[in-house]
């Protein structure tokens, strides 16, 4: 295939990538970019060109040991649910955006440690990026069947590197706050992960089933090749140790590679996504590895005797059979693997470079006196330039340095260097005593061991015969041979380097930490890191700080980086969270930590601390005091929790009280209405009495007949007044429970007749016909005197309701279950339907307050209701076509005794 066609395909592919990133940035909140699958696939940035091509090379040359690179991660991944969750939580709470931030913050927010981590990472990762560029360049040449151009400007890789640098610096620095999520990059990487796996499986299936006749065919043919058995057997203890160290190495890499930290921690936007990742990611690695072996040995079979680079078998095989489509697709898969790694790693490194090296050691002074606009621009530009330079430097290293090494070895060297962060990193999660000094010294010594055992030998060239450094050791001292340090001769160079560097690193970290105690700040962060679950919601509480600080000064610093509006918003949130008065002048420890966090994403933890401490006066706190304060704050958090619970309870009680109060108010209003009604009712007879008396008193020549009539009025109104008072008292007795019901076996027949007797005159006066029908036995359990009261009331109401002529009242008694139901039916005009339920309410007022109740004083029915309910019966009214009916029920047997 010609270079131009492949270049066009490449450009088209990069175009798609840009588009996906652009689209995902826009859809940053949609479920397409925010799901656990995107997260899990984005972690597969782990599988770089090294996996894609290098594994095959290793499998072809030395058999199964390529597996270690995948076994390590698979072994540790189940523990993610605890460890990774913790790391993510610590990072989210402290707004950490890189490994350097993470480690340096834990060790007392140490600027030097952050810079050291950055330095080690850059040294470790740049060759790795160079390796990816090399893979792109080599595979491009294979596909186009051209040879490498000595002219930089004729090398496609130059342009690819520039394009990648542009892409990464554009999408990687969209936000000044480095802890913001980069949805565009993540989604593009996730998509590439899917593509590279797909293309790899495609070529795997092609080689296994189309070139050969399945796995068995390849195995049968491969086993005839010389050395097959040795390469595919674990050879005793030394080999096992090699395996062990390689597994350990890749296990560390899972946490410590900047690109893994970037994807797994910084870009994680939901802890729950880990749950999907812990099964999907190992599955991904497994799928990736199924066809490594067949392709590698298939290549060995096909190209035995030839000097083909085993790393590129996946391209060479389809090309050998002139299958251009598969060749190009495989190339695109490898290209994806490379650029994902380059982009993510360079972004991760650029954040470290800017936030942990350049800003704290260089630009902080200028940033301190500029406005927000300029600062944001400057920070973003620093990162852009970093990304650009990283990729370009890597390109130069590729061009002039690593051309001779295979993918696997450079990858492992990179891993070993990154592994120097392991003691300090895992110590940060597990060990409270770990100190800054311990971390720095361990890391430095470990790194120096790496330099001696790996970087120098690889630098001068492993096969370089003019140097005796490797074969005879430094200055000819046997024990200092870099690949057999201190006479350790059964480990391969990489595991050996890992063993010694990590051993020194760890021992020194532990020893120094134990010997020299860290300061209070280190201990403070140690507690915050290790007990993150306790502090994750109110973590500012866990920050110990003493001194004098003013909100105003802190606000000024924040404004330089966040701008006016965001600073205000953030402070409002802070005040709400901790219930702080916004006019409070003095800033406390919480505000200082909060402010540091706000700045951390922009300029890194160390610079954030430096900036904030430049405007506050801090007093030293003793270690003892820190522990004491932390103990208190832990108690405070518990107390806070209890307070929250209590305040919730209080809220409930308040709600209940409010409800009760409303009910009381309603009752009160009802009481007022009742009093209104009662006073009105009382005044009416008094008015009549007064008017009559006045006439009798003033008028001497009043006719005898009229005089008597007025006196009769006075008497009847007095009686009415008395009845009214009795009724009110009755009602009061029932309501306060003072009224007793003296139940006995009685006959309703008899009771009704007794009740009707005093009403006979009234009934006769209105010429009303009363029908009384009983359809059943009328024995029931009740207080006769009280029921007479009820019947009298209901019948006299009925009388009032009846029309002037042809009035009729019918009284019926019938059995309904265990009750006797008495109904009193008149042929009047009925009751206003709206009032049917309410007429029994003593506080009842008709919807129109000035309309008199349809019957009696209004208290009568309320008393009837009380009486019937005290008998455990029911009373209600309804309208029939010809008048109103009042029903009440009484139990046939003594219901109170049965209870």
């Amino acid at each position: 295939m010609s270079s131009y066609s492949l270049l066009i395909i490449l450009l088209f592919y990069l175009g798609i990538l840009f588009f996906v990133a652009h689209w995902a940035e826009k859809k940053a909140n949609s479920k397409w970019t925010n799901n656990p699958y995107v997260y899990a696939f984005s972690l597969a940035v782990y599988c770089s060109a090294w996996t894609y091509y290098g594994s095959i090379g290793v499998a072809a040359h030395s058999g199964l040991s390529y597996l270690t690179v995948y076994l390590g991660p698979v072994i540790i991944i189940p523990a993610w649910i605890v460890i990774l969750r913790k790391i993510i939580r610590i990072s989210r709470v402290n707004k950490i955006s890189s490994l350097a931030d993470f480690i340096s913050l834990r060790y007392g927010n140490s600027r030097f440690l952050g810079a050291l981590v950055t330095f080690i990472s850059v040294i470790g990762i740049i060759p790795y990026i160079a390796l990816q560029l090399k893979a792109i360049a080599e595979t491009f040449r294979i596909v186009t069947q051209t040879s490498i151009s000595s002219n930089v400007f004729n090398d496609t890789t130059t342009y690819v590197a520039i394009a990648l640098a542009l892409f990464a610096s554009y999408y990687g620095t969209r936000y000044v706050d480095a802890s913001e999520k980069r949805k565009g990059i993540v989604t593009a990487v996730a998509m590439e992960s899917v593509l590279k796996l797909f293309f790899f499986i495609l070529v795997g299936v092609y080689v296994t089933y189309f070139v050969f006749d399945g796995f068995e065919d390849i195995y049968a043919k491969a086993s005839l090749i010389e050395g097959f058995r040795e390469k595919n057997t674990i050879g005793g203890l030394p080999q096992a140790l090699n395996w062990f160290f390689l597994c350990l190495l890749s296990l560390f890499a899972m946490f410590l590679l900047p690109r893994q930290f970037q994807m797994a921690v910084v870009e994680n936007n939901r802890e729950s996504h880990i749950k999907t990742a812990i099964w999907l990611f190992p599955l991904y690695l497994l799928l990736f590895n199924i066809f490594v072996y067949p392709i590698a040995w298939g290549g060995n079979i096909l190209f035995s005797g030839a000097t083909a680079n085993a790393d590129t078998y996946s391209l060479l095989i389809p090309q050998y059979f002139n299958n251009t489509t598969i060749t190009v697709l495989v190339f695109l898969g490898g290209f994806s693997a490379s650029i994902s790694m380059i982009v993510v790693a360079s972004i991760g490194l650029s954040i470290m470079l800017s936030n942990n090296l350049l800003i704290p050691y260089g630009f902080l002074g200028t940033l301190q006196s500029e406005t927000q606009d300029k600062n944001s621009k400057r920070i973003v530009n620093i990162r852009k330039i970093c990304i650009f330079l990283l990729i370009i430097v890597a390109y130069l290293i590729y061009r002039f340095y690593v051309l001779d090494y295979n993918l696997f070895s450079i990858g492992l060297v990179s891993f070993v260097i990154m592994a120097q962060l392991a003691p300090a990193f895992f110590g940060a999660l597990l060990w409270r005593r770990g100190s800054r000094l311990g971390a720095i010294s361990g890391m430095l010594i470990g790194f120096l061991v790496c330099v001696y055992t790996l970087l120098i030998p690889y630098g001068i060239g492993i096969t370089n015969s003019s140097s005796t450094f490797i074969s005879e050791g430094l200055a000819g001292i046997e024990l200092l041979k870099p690949f057999q340090l201190f006479g350790l001769d059964y480990l391969a160079p990489i595991p050996q380097a890992l063993f010694w560097s990590l051993l020194f690193n760890t021992i020194i970290y532990l020893a120094v930490s134990v010997s020299f105690k860290g300061n209070y700040r280190e201990r403070n962060y140690a507690e915050m890191f290790i007990d993150i679950d306790k502090y994750s919601t109110m973590h500012e509480n866990a920050f110990v700080w003493k001194g004098t600080a003013y909100t105003r000064d802190i606000e000024k610093v924040l404004k330089r980086f966040l701008g006016e509006e965001r600073t205000k918003r953030a402070l409002t949130i802070f005040n709400l969270k901790y219930n702080v008065d916004k006019n409070q002048e003095q800033a406390d420890a919480r505000l200082i930590k909060f402010a540091e966090n706000l700045l951390t994403g922009h300029i890194g933890t160390a610079s954030a601390r430096i900036l904030i401490s430049s405007v506050v006066k801090e007093e030293k706190v003793s270690l003892q005091e820190v522990l004491h304060i932390l103990e208190e704050s832990r108690e405070n958090i518990i107390i806070n929790k209890k307070l929250t619970e209590t305040s919730n309870e209080l809220q409930q009680i308040t709600a209940q009280l409010q409800k009760a109060n409303e009910q009381l108010l309603e009752k009160d209003a009802q009481k007022d209405e009742f009093l209104d009604t009662v006073t009105h009712e009382l005044r009416t007879p008094i008015t009549a009495i007064k008017a009559s008396s006045e006439i009798l008193y003033d008028d001497d020549d009043i006719p005898e007949e009229l005089r008597k009539q007025f006196l009769r009025n006075i008497i009847s109104e007095s009686d009415r007044l008395n009845r009214l008072i009795n009724k009110i008292l009755d009602l009061e007795k029932f309501e306060t429970g003072k009224q007793q019901i003296h139940g006995a076996k009685n006959s309703l027949d008899h009771t009704i007749v007794t009740a009707l007797e005093p009403l006979q005159q009234l009934i006769r006066n209105k010429k009303i016909v009363v029908h009384f029908v009983t359809e059943t036995v009328t024995e029931a359990w009740y207080d006769e005197e009280r029921i007479i009261q009820v019947i009298t009331n209901l019948v006299s109401n009925a009388v009032k309701f009846c029309p002037e002529t042809n009035g009729q009242i019918s009284i019926t008694v019938m059995e309904t279950g265990a009750y006797l139901q008495t109904s009193i039916h008149d042929n009047g005009k009925g009751i206003n339907p709206e009032d049917l339920d309410a007429i029994f309410d003593k506080f009842y007022q008709s919807t129109n307050q000035n309309i008199k109740k349809p019957v009696g004083s209004g208290l009568g029915l309320a008393i009837c209701k009380q009486i019937i309910e005290h008998h455990k019966g029911k009373i209600w009214a309804e309208n029939k076509e010809n008048g109103a009916v009042f029903h009440f029920t009484l139990p046939q047997y003594n219901s109170t005794e049965n209870e």
Binding site: I689, A691, N713, S716, E717
Partner: protein, 121 residues
């Protein structure tokens, strides 16, 4: 002879009023609620109406509103006579256009005096 309409649902109060006003040379008409009053007012145009507030069917306020709508009754004076003696009740009664609001219990003598006064204005 001046005509008076007494509207109240309490027969004993009505009786006292009827006696007193007859004695003071009024022609007396009686209604037991607002509805009856409005019926009577269709055919009679009294000089003065004494109106209770709390009555069955149509209350005193509603009755007055009807009266005020009737052009033939424009000259007609109205006195509310009610046991509702709260300020807001009195205000409401007067705002509807009553000439006087008297509370129960009342003095018969005073009522007659006030009535006479209203009619001589």
């Amino acid at each position: 002879m001046r005509k008076i309409l007494i509207v109240d649902d309490e027969p004993n109060i009505v009786m006292s009023l009827e006696y007193t006003f007859k004695k003071n040379n009024y022609e007396v008409f009686i209604a037991r609620d607002g509805q009856e009053a409005l019926e009577i007012l269709k055919v009679q145009q009294p000089d003065i109406i004494i109106l209770d507030v709390m009555m069955p069917m149509v209350d005193g306020y509603a009755t007055l509103e009807q009266i005020k709508k009737d052009e033939r009754l424009q000259h007609c004076k109205v006195i509310f006579l009610s046991a509702k003696n709260k300020e807001k009740d009195i205000e409401r009664g007067l705002s509807l256009g009553a000439d006087l609001y008297m509370t129960k219990p009342f003095s018969v003598k005073k009522l007659v005096e006030q009535t006479n006064e209203l009619l001589t204005d």
